[in-house]
Subunit: 475 residues, 2 copies
């Protein structure tokens, strides 16, 4: 096993070398699995594992029934060390305590908040939201006072459905169930399509909240290699689907947390095709979807003709987390999910829905998004530069296409949990990489929140982090 | 079986006759189970079932290790026909569709709202709540904007814990988890202490929302006979505990919906003792607890030294349903329930908690409750008189000690679902009795909402209901 593992790594590295040095150039076809297995005297499985790895790393493209080709734009930098081994084995998730430990400092005062990924309230239109809330308490007091319809407020769900008009498969307002934030949406989705003990495919690295949900609901996680630019490795996902290993897949197509990628449209479509072909539901967490720097980016749900994608979103990241307003478009699972919602909280509060309906209808939210995306892109860029200037050699940084997280790989021997502890002592809050996986992965990674303007205070903190990492790197 | 059932009914009725006519007077000891089984030539089980029935009807008191005695104040009116047979068999719950059907008219306009039990907004301090909400948006905008601590806002949970200072076992603020209304609290509680397929003891009649929750979560219900004045039959409950039939008990001790009783304190204590003795958790739904006409009434939780009572409450019935603000004190199940809460909605919205913290701290809520209780008592009384004046002979009406529901028994052959349909045609919304049970029970009952002032409009509707019931009664 260890030997085979070693072999697989070394062959992958050899193939990468061939591609990097141009022995195989962009678009060129690689030898077949059988040929390579003979060439290297390894099993077919080992070669398949290599291909999966190379696909995840962005070196190759696997075209079903055509063969394996060098990617049109293979990555220049070395692949992220975090996705070296993917046994595709479901694992029990049990890191809730761990995550609570790493989250705790967030509520403390006088902290440089590079931990929780969230746009700072300084760049949010709090006054406008609060003013709208005051208007609602004046002009719609009775409606705000009473129970809302279990599906949600029609004025609000109408506005939500309008936003999907350009989808190939638009979301009708009757398809929507309003929830207390996206987390309730995801949890209802998981309970709708999976049962205790089931396995769910997730990205790695993935949002730790998803892993906590799996842990608490006693579901297992099957981690699928995920590329920093292209997202979920569809080849690996299909293997898991084909083998009947998973009951659902929980993923993000846009501004994924923590990697920040937006999947190319063709890959989103392919994902939905896979779901349909194998009849396995996709739970799409699109909570960061509105923050793609380049502008509106369709979710995978946009191509969901057959209702297999349960789309979850909220306004927590783009407007106001304390509002706790999310929504879900559960496709063909609508009835069961609505039942679960109705008993879990009857209805969602009315006032926030009245507020959001107004902010959407007036066009304010769309205008706000334009500003927000610009600011987030700038901040991401500034943070990236600050990191590049202060971190030790061997550090590599993702180039996010949205969101407010920066995923940073340190030299392999550094354990970022150590950096977390040292940073907290200096009142800097960061998230270590290991909480983004249920397995023993991403230890040398960390995630930085780029939600606030990169002022001198933040720059100083990043500089100090770089120093600490530098010290760890020379030990 | 049918024969035994018949025997049991006839013997119960004979014993009731003896008590009513004074052959056995108040406080007198009845013959033992063995003596009665010989006397009537029936099995010991049949006699036990009779006793259980008579206890539920309020005719007798069972004192462990002392014997069976005639109740100090046996009921004058005939027992409610709905609790004639209690096989104590768990049943699958499947009435969600039914209930949605009966709830639907609530959202329609121009309806006399005697269906959903809820104080009308006319008797609620909407202006004050909305004003406080505006203050919060002005003076605590940042706090309202951000995520709240997963447990809830400390200023709010402190106020909640203060309310329990007079309990023999007070609730500490750290014991509390804030939720999106009491329904989320109950659902989290059910998921914390029971699993799919488990059986939960419930009152009959009970709040239909509890039954829907059991249905959706795939739990089974074991209905326990429940007395209109004394509540849950503790003898039957203990039988179920003893036989290991149930994983938990879901009940209300104060102003129960739909019966309106407040359990005597001694019985609340005894309930908690049973839970401790058999190590079976009680989920106490105290959502109506603040509406007891006679003033503050302790919940069963007040005696919960061992943390076996999961206490659930909210402000939906006493202040504002649209706020969706509830809370749970999960006792020894705190950790698991908090985990489930955190993944189901991360945290509860901040603004409503800021509002309630203020309204509690200033004493406004306490003053409001005094007014509210008076109004609800008056309305209940007025509604009761209106029903007595217009319904056919053979109708009997509960005398609620709190809440805003009136539970009305029609002559036995009337099916209140028919009355529901006829009433809706005349724009009057009522709830038929059968939805308050998972079994085939309470068909000749109905529940009326007494949440609004009994004005001429309401009186006319009640009068018309009485006419319709009269017509059904003579058919």
């Amino acid at each position: 096993m260890a030997h085979e593992h070693y072999l697989y790594e070394s062959i992958s590295e050899q193939l990468r070398q061939h591609i990097r040095t141009g022995s195989y150039s962009a678009g060129e076809r690689l030898p077949s699995v059988r040929q390579l297995s003979q060439l290297f005297s390894v099993s077919v499985n080992t070669v398949v594992q290599c291909f999966r790895q190379l696909e995840a790393d962005g070196y190759i493209e696997i075209r079903p029934r055509s063969g394996v080709f060098v990617h049109a734009t293979p990555p220049g930098q070395p692949p992220s060390s975090n996705i070296l081994s993917f046994p595709l084995l479901p694992v029990e998730v049990s890191l809730s305590e761990d995550i609570l430990h790493f989250m705790e400092p967030h509520v403390e005062e006088d902290l440089v908040r590079l931990g929780i990924a969230l746009p700072a309230c300084d760049i949010m239109p709090i006054d406008r939201v609060m003013r709208t809330l005051r208007e609602v308490t004046r002009n719609h007091a009775r409606q705000a006072w009473d129970y809302c319809h279990p599906h949600g407020l029609e004025a609000f769900t109408h506005q939500l459905s309008h936003r999907s008009l350009k989808y190939p498969a638009p979301i009708k307002h009757g398809d929507i169930v309003v929830t207390n934030g996206a987390m309730e949406a995801i949890e209802l989705a998981l309970r709708t399509v999976t049962r205790r003990g089931d396995t769910v495919a997730v990205e790695t690295p993935t949002y730790y909240g998803s892993l906590v949900a799996l842990d608490v609901l006693r579901r297992r996680a099957l981690e699928i290699p995920t590329h920093g630019r292209d997202g979920l490795c569809l080849y690996s996902l299909e293997q898991a689907f084909k083998r009947g290993q998973v009951a659902a897949c929980l993923m993000s197509a846009n501004a994924q947390n923590p990697l920040g990628f937006c999947m190319p449209e063709a890959r989103k479509q392919r994902l939905v095709e896979l779901a349909s072909h194998y009849d396995i539901p996709i739970i799409e967490n699109d909570v960061w979807g509105d923050t793609c720097f380049a502008g509106d980016s369709l979710p995978a749900k946009a191509w969901d003709q057959e209702g297999l994608v349960i789309y979850c979103s909220s306004f927590s990241k783009t407007l106001m987390p304390g509002m706790r307003l999310g929504w879900v478009a559960p496709g063909r699972f609508h009835k069961r999910l609505r039942e679960l919602k109705q008993i879990s909280s009857i209805t969602t509060a009315s006032a926030p829905q009245l507020v959001m309906a107004r902010l959407l209808e007036s066009g304010f939210y769309a205008r706000h998004l334009e500003r927000l995306r610009q600011e987030l892109a700038q901040q991401s860029n500034a943070m990236s530069q600050a990191v590049a200037a202060s971190f030790p050699p061997g550090t590599h940084i993702t180039q996010p296409a949205g969101g407010c997280a920066l995923w940073i790989g340190l030299p392999q021997h550094i354990d970022s949990r150590l950096l977390f502890t040292q940073a907290i002592n200096e009142r800097i809050h960061i998230f270590p990489g290991n909480v983004f996986s249920a397995g023993p992965r991403h230890f040398n990674y960390l995630r930085l929140n780029t939600g606030q303007p990169v002022d001198s205070n933040v720059k100083q903190a990043v500089y100090r982090l770089g120093e600490l990492a530098g010290q760890l790197s020379t030990h």
